[in-house]
Symmetry: C2
Subunit: 319 residues, 2 copies
């Protein structure tokens, strides 16, 4: 079994690769077979182990992502979430590789937002507002930069000093970007063409009243019924609402579960999933002034797409 | 993540270690939390991926065993079953090791039979009859040798040439043993003090009529409802019947599911599980002439016991 650490993967496998590989999988979904995610609590609160297996019978490969959630880790300068992905060659039955899954998870989640932005946002969107500047934010930024001519980035975080640190990191990587930390989220909401939310907030992180016509919103933070970062009062005003995976959102996305219960938005009215967007391949908004929303919770077949793509490139590099 | 291959593990971790570590776990079962085994079919017939996760919250460690079943592998000189075990440190959340799981699975299954033999068979049992000489057989032999003064080994296999090959392997490892390949299973049944069955047969591999008073039987082969290697007509004559894990046997052991349906044996009449035997610590048979039966299907916490035990010894060796 080969072991690939995060640094090696980062040097080999980029955002454009991840977006490409996820779109390739959308053309080959028949081979996908995945089991319900397993969660085993391992301590207080959210402390747990997550196991997400998925196979592709036509491609004759399978993988499982193994994730530990250790809530008190930040106090010890360790990440809360740590993942590894084990790849199995189904032709021989051999377990061929262990690939660090933390960067790949951030990258695939970024890639999902990137694809949503590509197929839902205005083509000339140039101002990106980011709400939440934690561990998932950098790859969310990368994804939006990949598909739209972003010039201005507005950053909001509950703890402003963290937004400032993130600003430095972004400025180092992209010196041509104009980057502004805002103290008031409404400033961001009113200016952004694209709003990308990556928090685990139990309450809405913006006010739907302040969303401007023409805005596209990506919500990737809420992944449990008690998490509700998107203000679901935006949904009745939305021209298009897409999910990464409809079954996952129904089970896990708190703001949508609440909206469905309250009648603000019915699950059966969803316009489709990311696969539909990708296979259609054109921008799905009625007007420049339309509001569009994408909600992402993640599911194992996206991990499979990037894990196999990364593995192939890593193996090609090592020859 | 450290990777340990089969050769390294074999040199470090032996049958006596596995039996010891499983008995240690029996004294610390409160910390065990495991999810239902996941099976994803990956092709025709039995071709599949199996995922068996288990954590020990008090010991602050978790593991998952990932197993591929590739039925046409023997045609390509590869094993049908290939397993790897990933260990996670729950204190830090780090995925610390990948340990080859094929030898460890054979070893732990042997250790379970060894413990059953230790606590159920006659103390002076000296003749071991083995039915089935396939991939699991060698560690089954090792386990019985570990706990009883075995002098004679009788081998039966449907394909006699395979029993002859196995005999050579055993003779090389244990030159003092008297080893006989029998063509007729009744010869074995009538002479053996302990009968150890490791086949995946859909039909009984011995005739209950021929089982002699005082015999102990270990059945480790049947692990699906359609597998019935033990002749369940022996059960009404049995003094004691123990399972490795009661819930597992109810779900998976074909001959017991059938016996329960036919009324030959009721699950509620089981005398206990291997933990009960181990914690009691004395031989559980009423007389020298009693017949005792142990049925094993395997479950994830046994894998956890040997995986953590092997990991600790491997790490100690590497310092």
């Amino acid at each position: 079994m080969k072991v690939f650490n995060e640094e090696t993967i980062k040097n080999t496998y980029k955002m454009s690769n991840a977006m490409h590989d996820i779109e390739q999988l959308f053309k080959n979904m028949d081979g996908i077979s995945q089991a319900q995610r397993i969660v085993i609590p391992t301590g207080d609160g959210a402390k747990s182990m997550l196991y997400m297996p998925c196979v592709h019978t036509e491609w004759e490969r399978g993988m499982i992502k193994i994730t530990s959630i250790t809530p008190d880790n930040p106090q010890h300068q360790r990440p809360t979430t740590q993942a590894t992905i084990i790849i199995t060659d189904l032709k021989t039955g051999e377990h061929v590789a262990s690939i660090d899954g933390s960067y790949l998870t951030r990258l695939r989640t970024g890639a999902l937002s990137g694809l949503a932005t590509q197929y839902l946002s205005r083509e000339n969107a140039s101002t990106l507002g980011m709400i939440g500047t934690g561990g998932m934010a950098f790859e969310q930024l990368l994804a939006n930069l990949e598909v739209r001519p972003i010039k201005n980035v507005l950053l909001y975080n509950r703890t402003t000093s963290k937004a400032e640190s993130f600003k430095k990191r972004v400025a180092d990587a992209f010196p041509d970007l104009s980057i502004t930390v805002v103290e008031d989220v409404d400033t961001l909401t009113k200016q952004a063409d694209i709003i990308n939310c990556q928090t685990q907030s139990a309450d809405p992180v913006f006010d739907a009243q302040n969303i401007q016509p023409g805005t596209h919103i990506n919500g990737i933070g809420s992944y449990r019924p008690d998490m509700k970062e998107l203000d679901n009062r935006i949904l009745p005003k939305a021209d298009k609402v897409f999910f990464d995976d409809i079954e996952g959102v129904k089970e896990e996305a708190g703001e949508f579960i609440e909206a469905n219960e309250k009648g603000l938005f019915k699950f059966e009215d969803v316009d489709g999933d990311l696969k539909d967007l990708s296979l259609n391949g054109t921008i799905q908004r009625s007007h420049d002034d339309s509001i569009t929303v994408f909600k992402c919770v993640g599911t194992a077949y996206f991990d499979l797409a990037v894990a196999l793509g990364a593995y192939d490139r890593l193996m090609a590099d090592s020859h």
